[in-house]
Amino acid sequence: MEGMKKAGRSCLTVLKYFSLVFFSFAAVLPVVSCVITAFKTDEEYQTTNVMTLPKSWLNFTNFTEAFQKAGMGRAFVNSFIILVCVLFFSVIIGTQLAYVLNRFHFFGNKIIRALFLFASQLPGVAMQIAVYEIMYGLGFINSLLGYIIMMCGTDIISIYIYIQFFENIDYSLDESAIIDGASYFTIFYRVLFPLLKPAIVTSCILKGVGTYNEYYCASLYLQDKKKYATVATSLYTFVGPLGSKYNLICAGVIISLLPALIVFILCQKQIYSGLTAGAVKG
């Protein structure tokens, strides 16, 4: 009886680790195969199987060539500018909005929340049909500024993260500041904003990864690929004549996902908790 139970339990343990290893393997295989191929010379790539390891792990020629051919230097600068501006403005906009929605009870509070929620349900691809016309009308095609302004728009997840955080900040803080004669501006910027730091970090990481990876609007509105490519859209260089040089393409792909990988390794916890916080409410 006990023996059978033990056998059953170790069977379960084997199954457990087998599932974990299997799905982890499935998750990393496509990326690992890219890494392998990115280190191969043209000749190696043509003559060996894709899963054969490269002769040298120090062959960085594909990386430098991909970086130059796709104009990734420029793309990284553009992506960086976009990232910094979008994060800066959406933190200010988002925290201010969350402050008003959480602390003030007024007619329309619920309506505004509902408007943001509804907006987040609309599929982006469909909306761009008409947004394109507006961007065109505003002269925002091929304009980094226009793209940045558009990206600062509706972002229900960070707003929820901020609102949740405000809910956990005791209202007595505001009250004592009011008694001291502080204005609402002062309360927000001097008292509450510094307390929001963890929520800001979380939402910046999520929004940052989202902005860095965004490619659909970037390819619609930043059409001049020489001047305004982001890291994601710079990969479009490899469509066409270079389309079968996978050792080069894989190197480009790996370069493009390095920043996300670094952020992920450094901030795993915040990413997980941010996702969970955004999802439970949404």
């Binding site: 006990e2 457990k16 680790y17 974990l20 799905f23 982890s24 499935a26 998750a27 295989l29 496509p30 990326v31 195969s33 890219c34 191929t37 199987n49 894709v50 988002g94 201010q96 909005l97 008003v100 003030f104 907006a119 349900q121 609309l122 599929p123 691809v125 469909a126 049909i129 008409a130 947004v131 394109y132 016309e133 507006i134 728009g153 509706t154 609402y184 927000f188 860095y212 990876n213 965004e214 659909y216 890291v231 994601a232 859209t233 479009y236 996978y246 393409i249 894989c250 493009s256 996902l257 996300a260 990988l261 992920f264 795993q268 990413i271 997980y272 996702l275 969970t276 999802a279 949404g282």
Partner: protein, 331 residues
Amino acid sequence: MKKKRTPGQWLRSRDGQKTLVMIAFMIVPLLLLFVFTYLPFGQMFGFSFYNMKYVGERKFVGFKNYLKVFERDDCFGALKLSLYYMLGSVVQLAIALYLATILSFKVKGSAIFKGFMFFPFLINGIAIGFIFKFFYTRGFVFDTVLQWCGFQLDNLPYWLKDQRINNFSLVGTSVWRYFGQNMVLFIGAIMSVDQELYEAAMLDGANRFQQFKYIILPGIKTIVTLNVILSITGSLSAFEPPFVITDGANGTGTYFIVMHQIAHTQQKVGLASAMAIILLLIIFLATLLQKLFFKYVFRSAEDEDPRAAKKRERAIARIAKKRAGSAQAGG
């Protein structure tokens, strides 16, 4: 009484400040919301009645665009493809739930497993396109791995060209990308269930399956429901895998792919707008139906709750008794 002027005046100035702050803090986000969401939404509705391009003349055509959506094979027929994506999302949720359950118990190296499985979620769409074009190419990664498992290359199909299989290949990439993210959400939900419940159940000798059924599942049903709803509406608007991998060729053009091509390549903005409006209506209808369905299911579940709770208690008591019995018999 404090040394204030009239209380009314004080209130008014406080109120005045309040209004000022509200306006100052809300005007930019609301303006952005209006310009980039509700204004285009309204415009799109208007466009759908016109025969138009982005630039040039516009001709009012009434409901003709809507009729065309139903008549053209490439438009409405493309919705059938969303069935593949629905199937994929069911598989994805099941895998995620299974792995989340495993990882919420003590597992060696759980952070590493979790990290590996989550990382695909952080890769940008275009990179994913290249990764999977490479992955599925004849004789490349996927074929090689299958050959390791004993398959013959000659028996394997062309994963992206063969129309019998290519939609499954594309759905596979979407499952690959999102199962880790779903898993992380589920782990979060499972962790938020009171830990004492697990300990109590463990003490009472409930096995893994019983723990899952009586403690984990009731604790996370909200988030599971939410994800089911999201994934079904998501599969209606499936877009990314075919857009970045096959560009909609060989019978992989989903509804949104067709819509994107009509709008931005062919510049038939009116027709594309009509397609968008129709799909939005379908999505809202689907969401509504699902919400009603789940409400109904949960209400009946809540009605049964006292009974279920009693059942659970009885089950736990039975197991405890059996335990005690076998311990006695052993002793």
